[in-house]
């Protein structure tokens, strides 16, 4: 290997593979969407030109020549003077496979792929000099109207010349499928990371470096203290009051120092835990790959299946922007390939049959990849003939899988499950494509290994849907972050149909409900806080964000504010939270708390029942809880909400004062000792303001002395409760009693 090439071989190989993938993708797109030829051919030329240039500069003449001859062969297509023939597409795809093989050979410093590259270079050269292009695979702009109408269908894979006319050295279907998937594996071997993500990781390592510095400082403190102790020990027995007193002072000094050091170390440990957690999440996110990596292999699988069977099919792939863990992506490739091949071979009817029953000539295959809560759901739908339950039962009996009596007892779904048995196939002949009865068995086995499920639905004459559902290990998803009642939530972006920011006057009232008109239709406005079981307090902003979820019917969801979109690494919910229909998954936001991703389906299901409860909720009274302890706040919230009250919380007296002055609060329960403004201070400020002077306030204190109690009551507290004597029922009783007194 040339020295220069040796230095950059890894980069060259990665780049050549990517260029080969892009060229292959452009070829497939041009074939499937003739209208895109003008755009795609330029992309193809750019990639081929780059491949030619980089290969030539490193002395890899065979690849440079191949790229050059590919350009020459495609020149008529570029100049709109020739057609993109099926043979050209075939050869182009084979050439790109050969490029990948050859670069693997270069990396291993052997001849691997060289003969393929040379053979294809010669073939392109012949084609470039040939005046007569061969049988058209797709129409060009001059094709007749009827042909154009058919070819215009997106993603159409067409039958072309019979197999006997194909190149003698053409690989088998299986080999082609494997090569196509190998492309995905290669992409999965290396990762491209955005500068933003790298910068975030660098920040985390900076934080780790700072922590290391702090730990080194603490180590020197420990050394100093140890020396002090050793000095005390070495100084021997002491006599006299002065000496003993001095030792006592030294020891006290050391104890204070150790306590301080312990606090610092606890902070350092927490910092380390947080930073390593974020580093971990960042690295996990880098292991995610887009589902779009499956696009090219699946399109090629459909194309080849059509070529083998003489059928026509279009493939639409939705959900390419879903990011999946690379292990999961690798694992689901094979089942998907088998299902797709099975759909073309068994499901899609021949063109003449389809046309006879009034279906489009090209069968329609649709693959949808979607994240649903903690699962990834992949559906493969075809509009073919559907499953023949009677035939499946007959074959099962012939194969000895069950008796006639047993077969008669099977319902439709149970009959479909027979397809997943090893060795089962309804095909009379074994072909390269299917009929060996291993395809769906492989699907079933792989899905089971992934702890997933495989569902089959079918309607005679209308088609079949295979649904593969597998759990996520980790997956990144694009979400919309929104804020409601000081809490941040996320919603999967694909679930949102529309976002509106209407002014208040654009909202109307219908009966007891607020509505927003979309396309002339009233949509009930429901607050997110109500949907998630809380009550909203405070003024709505002048322009309130409204979200319409897909399939939401006549409901829009209002929240306090939108905080933009984000790519989050989602984790499955802990087991005990999976029963709550409002939750979908959970994410850890860097430098922040865990964040719940809400389930759109759960929100929609709750919307109906909440509409009925709306009026009752509006009659509830609001209690403001002020306490600097999150435990106390959570506990008091649950106790008071359990007692039928709305609850607002504040973490200190200052915040409580702001809320009490700006929102409708009926009673305050406050801790005494809080930062910034304590409970007594809060009480005095409330009493000094005409707007809040009569607001009942319960002091809820950890201080238990009679003096504290008297001090609180003297300042104007309505009641005084000690935390040490706390009982759930007592607090609700006191609050209820005070609110009754206030009302009278």
């Amino acid at each position: 290997m040339d020295d220069l090439l040796r230095e950059v071989i890894d980069i060259f190989v990665a780049e050549a593979r990517e260029q080969a993938d892009r060229i292959a993708q452009a070829l497939l797109t041009m074939e499937q969407q003739p209208a895109s030829i003008a755009k795609e051919i330029e992309e193809l030329y750019r990639q081929a030109h780059s491949l030619k240039g980089s290969s030539a500069s490193l002395g890899v003449e065979e690849l440079s020549q191949l790229a050059h001859q590919l350009e020459s062969a495609l020149l008529p297509v570029r100049r709109q003077r020739g057609q993109l023939t099926a043979e050209l597409v075939d050869l182009g795809l084979q050439a790109m496979d050969a490029v990948k093989l050859r670069v693997a050979g270069l990396q291993a410093d052997n001849e691997l792929g060289l003969s393929d590259v040379q053979r294809l270079t010669n073939r392109f050269e012949q084609l470039a000099h040939s005046a007569q292009p061969e049988s058209p695979a797709t129409t060009d702009r001059t094709a007749d109207a009827a042909t154009e109408a058919r070819a215009g269908q997106a993603g159409s894979s067409r039958r072309a010349e019979p197999p006997a006319h194909r190149e003698a050295t053409r690989p088998t279907e299986d080999e082609q499928a494997e090569t196509a998937f190998a492309g995905t594996s290669e992409a999965a071997e290396s990762v491209r990371v955005s500068i933003d993500k790298l910068s975030a990781l660098v920040q985390h390592t900076d934080a780790l470096r700072r922590l290391r510095g702090q730990l080194e400082h603490h180590q020197s403190e420990v050394t100093t203290m140890l020396r002090g102790l050793e000095k005390l020990v070495r100084s021997g027995p002491k006599q006299g009051e002065a000496q003993v007193k001095r030792i006592d002072e030294d020891l006290q000094h050391l104890v204070r120092g150790l306590r301080s050091l312990r606090r610092d170390l606890m902070d350092d440990i927490e910092g380390l835990q947080s930073t390593t957690g974020e580093l971990d999440d960042g690295l996990r996110a880098m292991q995610l790959l887009p589902a779009s990596l499956l696009s090219q292999p699946l399109h090629r699988a459909v194309r080849e299946a059509c070529r083998s069977t003489g059928k026509e099919a279009t493939l639409q792939l939705d959900g390419e922007d879903v990011f999946l863990d690379r292990t999961l992506l690798e694992a689901i490739k094979t089942p998907l390939l088998h299902v797709v091949r099975n759909a073309v071979d068994h499901g899609i009817e021949p063109v003449e049959v389809r046309e006879a029953v009034g279906k489009p000539a090209a069968g329609q295959l649709r693959i949808n990849i979607e994240q649903r809560g903690s699962q990834v759901e992949l559906t493969v739908t075809d509009d073919g003939r559907g499953l023949d339950v009677v035939r499946i039962r007959e074959v099962a009996q012939q194969r000895g899988l069950l008796s006639a009596k047993e077969a008669a007892l099977l319902d439709e779904n149970e009959s479909y499950q027979l397809l997943l048995r090893p060795g089962f196939s309804t095909k009379e002949e074994i072909t390269a494509l299917s009929g060996r009865g291993v395809g769906l068995d492989v699907v079933s086995t792989t899905v089971r290994k992934l702890h997933g499920t495989l569902g089959i639905e079918s309607a005679p004459g209308a088609g079949t849907t295979f649904t593969i559902s597998v759990p996520l290990t980790v997956a990144a998803s694009r979400v919309l972050m929104l804020e409601e009642q000081d809490h941040t939530f996320a919603l999967p972006l694909p679930a949102i149909a529309r976002i509106a920011l209407p002014r208040r006057e654009e909202l109307a009232t219908l009966g007891s409900q607020t509505v927003f008109y979309i396309d002339g239709q009233p949509h009930t406005v429901l607050r997110l806080s109500k949907l998630i079981g809380q009550t909203h307090t405070g003024e709505a902003p002048a322009r309130q964000p409204l979200l319409q979820l897909r399939g939401s019917g006549g409901v829009v969801i209002a929240c306090d504010r939108l905080r933009g979109e984000a790519d989050l690494v989602l984790r499955p919910l802990p087991i005990e939270l999976r029963r709550y229909p409002l939750l979908s998954s959970v994410a850890i936001v860097p430098s922040g708390p865990a964040l719940f991703v809400l389930s759109p389906q759960g929100l929609l299901a709750t919307a109906t029942s909440l509409r009925l409860a709306q009026e009752n909720l509006s009659r509830r009274r609001t209690v403001l809880v002020a306490d600097d302890s999150i435990t106390t706040r959570s506990l008091l919230r649950s106790v008071l909400e359990g007692g039928g009250y709305r609850v607002r919380t504040a973490s200190d007296g200052d915040e409580a004062l702001r809320i009490a002055r700006s929102e409708r609060i009926d009673l305050v329960v406050s801790d005494v000792r809080m930062p910034r403004l304590d409970g007594i201070g809060l009480l005095l400020r409330l009493r000094g303001d005409a707007r809040t002077s009569r607001l009942p306030l319960v002091l809820f204190s950890g201080a238990q002395s009679e003096e504290d109690r008297l001090r609180g009551l003297a300042a104007g507290a309505s009641a005084y409760l000690a935390k040490s004597d706390f009982e759930r029922g007592q607090l609700v009783d006191v609050v209820t009693q005070l609110l009754k007194e206030e009302a009278t």
Partner: protein, 175 residues
């Protein structure tokens, strides 16, 4: 001769029974002497203990995210040193009477057969070596607390974590 034989057989039976009793007593004594380390903590004013082998992490509680639509005994979810756990208010969950409240909030992350859960604690009391002899049955009405450790200064309710985690309220499907 026949009488002697009977008497001999009775003697053997007696000796065997005596030895068996001695062995059983020794085993019982060994059990009583066994000491199992537990992490002791205080929640809702009540001292609890969980076997040390289940505890994977303990730290101050920060960034607790409340659970929308969740029950009062699940205080929220939090991320602690890479563990993403729900935080359980044990006393509320078990329906124990609240015995005062402290401001200090810690979280004990426990793991049973790979499943993790956070236990909210006001205070971590430390590691207690609990001798089997000091453990007594406790009738609480909950399978998650069936034993109490009668220590010198305090009585610790011993949480049976596998039982706690298999409670229908903490399983995936609503019962």
């Amino acid at each position: 001769m026949a009488e002697e034989q009977v008497s001999g057989a009775e003697e053997i039976s007696r000796l065997l029974a005596e030895r068996a009793a001695q062995l059983a007593r020794r085993e019982l004594d060994d059990d009583k002497a066994a000491v199992l380390p537990h992490v002791a903590f205080q929640a809702a004013g009540q001292p609890f203990a969980v076997p040390l082998r289940y505890v994977v992490h303990a730290s101050r509680l920060r960034h607790l995210t409340p659970i929308p639509g969740g029950p009062p005994y699940l205080l929220g979810i939090c991320a602690l040193a890479g563990h993403l756990v729900s935080v359980l208010d044990v006393a509320a969950f078990l329906g124990l009477r609240q015995r005062g409240l402290s401001d200090v909030a810690c979280c004990l992350v426990v793991s049973v057969q790979g499943r993790e859960l956070g236990l909210c604690a006001e205070q971590l009391l430390g590691i207690e070596d609990i001798p089997a002899a000091k453990v007594a049955p406790f009738l609480s009405g909950s399978a998650a607390i069936s034993q109490v450790a009668m220590m010198e200064k305090l009585q610790l309710l011993i949480l049976d974590l596998p039982q706690l985690l298999s409670d229908a309220r903490l399983t995936e499907e609503p019962s």
